[in-house]
Amino acid sequence: MTSTELSSILSGPRQSPAPDWFRELQAKAWEEFEAEPFPARGNELWRFSSVKNLALDDYVAAPVFSGDPLSLARPRQFPEPAGRMIFANESLVRAELFSPALESAGVIFTTLADALEKHSDRLREHFMAQSARLGSAKFAALHKAVVQAGTFLWIPRGVEVRNPFEVFHLVQGDWAAVFPHTLIIAEDNSQVTMLEHFVSSNPDERGLGCAVNDLVLKPGSKLNYIGVQEWSRNFVSIQVNSTVAQKDSAALNLALNFGGKYSRLESVSRMIQSGARSDMLAISVARDEQEFDQRTLQDHQMPDTTSDLLYKNALHDRSRTIFSGLIKVEPGAHRTDAYQKVRNLLLSDDAEANSMPGLEILADDVRCTHGATSGQVEPEELFYLKSRGINDLSAKRLIARGFLNEVVDRLPEERLSEYLHQQIEARL
């Protein structure tokens, strides 16, 4: 496809070879997309957001990627992944499963298109089964209607995969729009980690990344999902996450946000059976006039469930962050243990952090804590570092890095946190 043939993303649902149920779903999603109003300033779910960034008229379907996408992925690659998939402008460039043992164990690591063909029933049950409740329903509907590049990862019962699966979504071209999709299903007592990268090839190109990831945890499973958002500084990024945790399962979702002009992250964890746990983590490094807009829901539907949210923002220059999070304890969800903490490190006098923590408790005997703090670098910490010969700028950088590393250190796997420390280091 040449650039003259690019179609506007507003031209309708995309036609791709897919089962009827999927085509119908997409057609219906397109109607939903058209019916949903655009986010408006007065809407509480978009409070403080710069909604003017959300106009969609100029975006086009991504052109063919020119050049070598692998060289863009290479410096970011995790050393020993279980499998790796690379999409460049929504087209699959490479898909590899590095261990034959995984294949024989029945692990499915494939594209959305392939899964629609071969695993239609599994997909039908879980594909975007949860509605986007935190404001982005319109964009989730658009995603559903036009999605092409996606990953389907299915881990059979009892299978534990130690190395992470790794997926790259690379984009190139001014005004290109991409719709990365990830669906992970961890069957009973399985364990899996996914590391996903969103990367622009050019730091200035405008674009839209409208991504959805759905994590499904069956009883006793453990699922870690890490998303590294490195779109260009002129990107509009919308990420919608849904995590559904069944009995005694443990989800961990870590978002590392670096890119984008305006980045909206909506993350919902639903603890739908007792013993379920969700760790919701995010770090954002905001510079210049970047805006990171984060909305979360910790939905405790059943007793003895746990959630722990820690979001940290390091704000430079004239950047802005918004956090709005709700802990919801539904009737009967006794002995819920929910924690929510947002910390903003203001590295500039012109930066602005907005925090709106919230609680809605409809059960007894629960333990819920929430808090939001904003502050500058502690002068005494700075003095301590400087007294060891470290100059002002380096000392502040060290403190900021430490502030962010604390979140990464919550990962259960040391090689992964070490890898992420290096990735953060390279981007500070």
Binding site: E378, P379, E380, E381, F383, Y384, L385, K386, S387, R388, G389, I390, N391, D392, S394, A395, L398, I399, R401, G402, F403, L404, N405, E406, D409
Partner: protein
């Protein structure tokens, strides 16, 4: 030989004068102890030497080898060879001890030169062994969750790694039990030598049983009221600080 000369120093914090005309001189190869009761200005002296921004020098000078350090930022003072062991070391969340020390050592290298990582760890482990610090401390965040004794040992570890020309130890003995005190003293004694001048700030004579000073100065109400040899510490121990308060302050130079 290098020297630090403090001359008629006056220091205020939030418009209150804490140090009121203090003069003191010390050189490499010497250990000086500054003793004094609470509120005498001992810790202020340490902080003002290190360059804490809250402490205003209203009069006087601090010279390092003849050069005034008063206008220098704390990091520049450090790179020039001045070290202060904190009475209350700060916790730096998320920054590992090893990375902190590497940054401090890296700051001393010329631009473009990289610290040799292998050499660094060899030296670090050697100094840690000396101070009975377990290896796992390299990966832990600076002072976070450390006991009082561990924090103080960590200060001495930094001192050992940075190899300054002058070290000011601000109440390094406070809050230590006798075993921890011995370990810290052993560390300091290993560092002592002709290449370093040490100023021990302490409330109690106890530390001086393990680190023997060449000179003892007594501080009261923001100035040195008496100077002498190590026996002065013992005299203070038996007679208490009130003994000095009863006397008329006399201004005595260090040497």
């Amino acid at each position: 030989m290098s020297s630090i000369v403090i001359d008629d120093l006056h220091v205020s914090v939030a418009d209150k004068e804490i140090i009121q005309g203090l003069s003191l001189e010390f050189s490499t190869g010497e250990i000086h102890a500054v003793m004094g009761p609470n509120g005498s200005g001992k810790s202020t002296l340490a902080k003002v030497m290190a360059g804490h921004p809250d402490y205003q020098v209203t009069r006087g000078e601090i010279l390092m080898d003849g050069v005034s350090i008063l206008e220098m930022e704390p990091d520049e003072r450090s790179r020039r060879g001045l070290f202060m062991a904190f009475q209350y070391p700060m916790e730096i969340p998320g920054v590992s001890n090893a990375n902190f020390l590497r940054a401090a050592l890296q700051a001393r290298l010329p631009e473009g030169e990289e610290l040799d990582a292998i050499e660094f760890y060899q030296r670090l482990y050697q100094k840690m062994d000396l101070l009975d610090i377990r290896r796992e401390f390299t990966g832990r965040a600076v002072n976070e969750g450390f006991s009082g004794g561990e924090k103080k040992r960590n200060e001495i570890l930094q001192l050992a790694m940075l190899e300054p020309t002058f070290a000011v130890l601000d109440e390094t003995d406070s809050g230590l039990d006798i075993d921890a005190l011995k370990v810290v003293a052993k560390g300091v004694n290993t560092i002592c030598g002709p290449g370093i001048g040490i100023l021990l700030i302490t409330h109690y004579q106890r530390l001086l049983n393990y680190i023997v000073p060449d000179f003892v100065h007594v501080m009261s109400e923001g100035r040195i009221v008496r100077s002498g040899g190590k026996e002065l510490a013992l005299e203070l121990e038996s007679k208490g600080y009130d003994w000095l308060k009863a006397r008329k302050p006399e201004t005595v130079g260090a040497n």
